[in-house]
Symmetry: C2
Subunit: 461 residues, 2 copies
């Protein structure tokens, strides 16, 4: 069958896909609620039945220390490329339930939107992907690529089991690309693909001075104050252009190409947007970069917490024995959190005065991720979006980390194509979560185009 026939098949089945989504949503798979672990299991079962009904092979539910992981595959030719579709079937809690206008797990169509917990994050995205797979497999007996599927039930609680699972099933999960539809669109008219994520290096810095708090009258003047020394050390970590001064910090930073900067300029996130979102009196960032570049493509250093001495009501005149800061650096490709820890320690060795003792505690960080936007699957999705939406998706970077993308790269060596059809106004994680059904249907067609274009690329190769 040709592409038009596949699209027609999908269009004829939209109502059934929606019914399936409603059934999936009705299972209250809230991963943070131990009382609902049977619902989590029910969702995993529902999903494995669905995968079986699509004629996929080796459908399996893997137990983990917490919530199960669902797997399936369709191997046509072991030597052909493989796309691994990732998703999570768990959802955020519905509380505060009194703020919902409709029952959170009873999906309700309101206008052009489906209102329900998990509608957009991400049961709707899972069903969109599977609808496209169904159309694809309905229309073609043989594909020039293989498909694998992995769905976890712990994404909303930080995916505590996924790392070990990836480590233990490298062979099973081997693939060339991950299709991850857990990201979203810029707005209903503007699709996007996120090709880079920032990593994280997180530390606790402790500066110790006197053996115990001292009376600032009795001893003030002869000892350095740990809270002041900590302030000096923090202040010295940035120069007056707001660049980070840790030795060698920028050495591994991949510079932005002109093409990337042009693409990032398409992101409709202006200084005014940032101002109204943050409520700061004035924006500030590294000189020589636009807001969106500062926010997504450049590394940062932030202090998350300060604690020292007396912080209660009123006045107490102690020289505190110690001062503590929590701080982290957001890292961009190709920075390495382990090297950054060394850079921080080198900075402290070179700059801390001998009047204090310092100690750095390193917390689990994460590598930045760069998923080549020129890889075949990304190209195919870009073209697919253009066919469906009439414009090329914005290729963007993300300021935050998405651990699964990093882990897929780090553990399995696979680049992700990170995209999706969720919208900023979808109330993700909030009451009255919605799915824009028009966008969702266009999304299904987009994934069908993606498979088709990817097939052609593979067939041509």
């Amino acid at each position: 069958m040709n592409i038009q026939q596949l699209l027609t098949f999908a269009q004829q089945n939209f109502d059934r896909f929606l019914e399936e989504l409603n059934a999936f949503i009705a299972i209250e798979s809230v991963s943070s609620d131990p009382e609902r672990s049977h619902d989590i299991r029910k969702a995993a079962d529902w999903l494995s039945n669905k995968l079986n009904s699509l004629g996929l092979d080796h459908v399996a539910i893997f137990d983990t220390p917490l919530h199960p992981i669902v797997f399936a595959e369709k191997i046509f030719d072991k030597s052909a490329p493989t796309i691994l579709i990732y998703g999570h079937y768990d959802v955020q809690p519905e509380s505060p339930v009194e703020l919902w206008n409709t029952p959170p797990f009873d999906a309700t169509v309101v206008g052009t939107r489906l209102v329900a917990r998990g509608s957009t994050d991400m049961k709707g995205q899972i069903i969109a992907g599977l609808a496209a797979v169904e159309a694809l497999l309905f229309g073609k007996e043989e594909l020039p690529f293989n498909l694998k599927f992995i769905y976890e039930g712990e994404e909303e609680i930080g995916s505590p089991s996924i790392r070990d699972f990836l480590e233990e099933h490298k062979e099973l999960l081997a693939a060339d690309t991950v299709l991850n539809l857990d990201a979203g669109m810029i707005n209903a008219d503007t699709p996007s693909i996120t090709y880079a994520l920032r990593g994280l290096a997180y530390f606790e810095l402790l500066v110790k001075g006197p053996a115990q708090d001292l009376h600032s009258g009795v001893f003030g003047g002869v000892v350095d104050n740990p809270a002041i020394v900590l302030s000096q050390l923090i202040a010295g970590m940035k120069d007056d252009q707001r660049r980070i001064t840790l030795p060698g910090f920028y050495e591994d930073v991949r510079s932005l190409s002109d093409k990337e900067r042009e693409e990032l300029a398409r992101v409709p996130q202006t200084a005014d947007t940032y101002l109204s979102q943050t409520g700061v009196p004035h924006l500030a960032g590294e000189q020589g970069y636009t807001c969106i570049e500062q926010n997504t493509a450049r590394p940062t250093l932030d202090v998350h917490g300060l604690l020292s001495g007396f912080t209660g009501e009123g006045a107490k005149t102690v020289i505190p024995a110690w001062a503590l800061a929590k701080l982290s650096m957001r890292l961009v490709p190709d920075q390495d959190p382990v090297k950054v820890a060394d850079q921080l320690k080198q900075y402290l060795s070179e700059n801390a005065p001998p009047t204090v003792i310092w100690d750095v505690k390193t917390f689990t960080g994460g590598y930045p991720a760069f998923c080549d936007p020129d890889q075949p699957a990304s190209k195919a999705l870009q073209d697919a979006f253009e066919l469906t939406w009439g414009k090329r998706p914005v290729l963007k970077r993300e300021g935050a980390s998405i651990p699964i993308v990093t882990e897929m790269k780090e553990i399995l060596g696979i680049d992700s194509v990170l995209s999706g059809f969720a919208l900023p106004e979808d109330n993700m994680h909030a009451p009255n979560e919605t799915l824009n059904l028009e966008v969702w249907r266009k999304g299904i067609l987009t994934i069908i185009h993606f498979f088709d274009l990817y097939s052609k690329q593979m067939a041509d190769a």
Copy 2:
């Protein structure tokens, strides 16, 4: 009678003075304990009876919103100079009582020491002063100076009532010198007179950035971090010589004369003493000054507390909405805490970036005090010490504030002569407080000499 007869009178009555002290100590005048307000009253009554028994005039107990103030006087000639003797009859709580080797309010002689709460701080000092007055009045019917007495019952809880009392009784308390024996000796061989105290300007500095805590991945890079800005502002308050950079901060600082520096060098407080007392790895202070000068004769700036963002266990990646510091400056003569508040605000105006909003809350501070060591009463006490101890007392400055000295100066315009016979090893405010009885007896003789020498000075004048 001549001086020798006065001294002999005292020596013959030492045992009775000690009995009186024991009776005074037995009254549990703990000012912080509301359950013991009747004991406080009892101590005030005891003291007023004692003052009456000495033949003093206008003995009165003044009620205050909290604990009473005891007053007395002996006016020989309204045009003659007047010495106002200050003391406090309240004591610290005895807790933790299980650490005492003897009952805290049952004064016990152990070797050459009297062990009891209040023995040295400062019932022993009060009785020493009154013993000397008794000897003086026993021996002389007329004096070339007048005596006034004021004893408060709230010193150990910060003297909340004394300011208003001084304001309301300026006439009654008018005097030329305050004799305040609430300070102490450097060691049993080395008397001292404290002629200058540091003042205090205390502030809370709040730096506000975003409207609420922000996700450091989602927004990191485009906004200034309030905890970092606070650190920068604090770091900028000192230069690399550890001098304070607030505009005009040193303008009113009285420089140390060569004579003062020589005297301060006699204080047996070395770098090693400070090191072992504080437990810091290395000392640090303003360049160009000795430790004792840095600690007592130079102004300082200390941060007492820092609070911002996330300070719990583990890692949380917020850009905090605000960051707070408690800080103060210890001031030396002739600095003014009100001017210093303006200097801080000017510094912040000139240095805070427009990316944050800052606010300074000013707490009650205190003026520094300078009590001329060349005033007649100070000279008389210096000579008296030389007669009794065989060496001149060390003229020193104190790093901490003693509000009553400042208030006597500020409200009544009277310089204090601040001295006393307490020793560093006397366990003031701690269990097993002691009074060195040998030093105490020498102290009584010293005060008799002081009165005698002051009489001669006044008679000569």
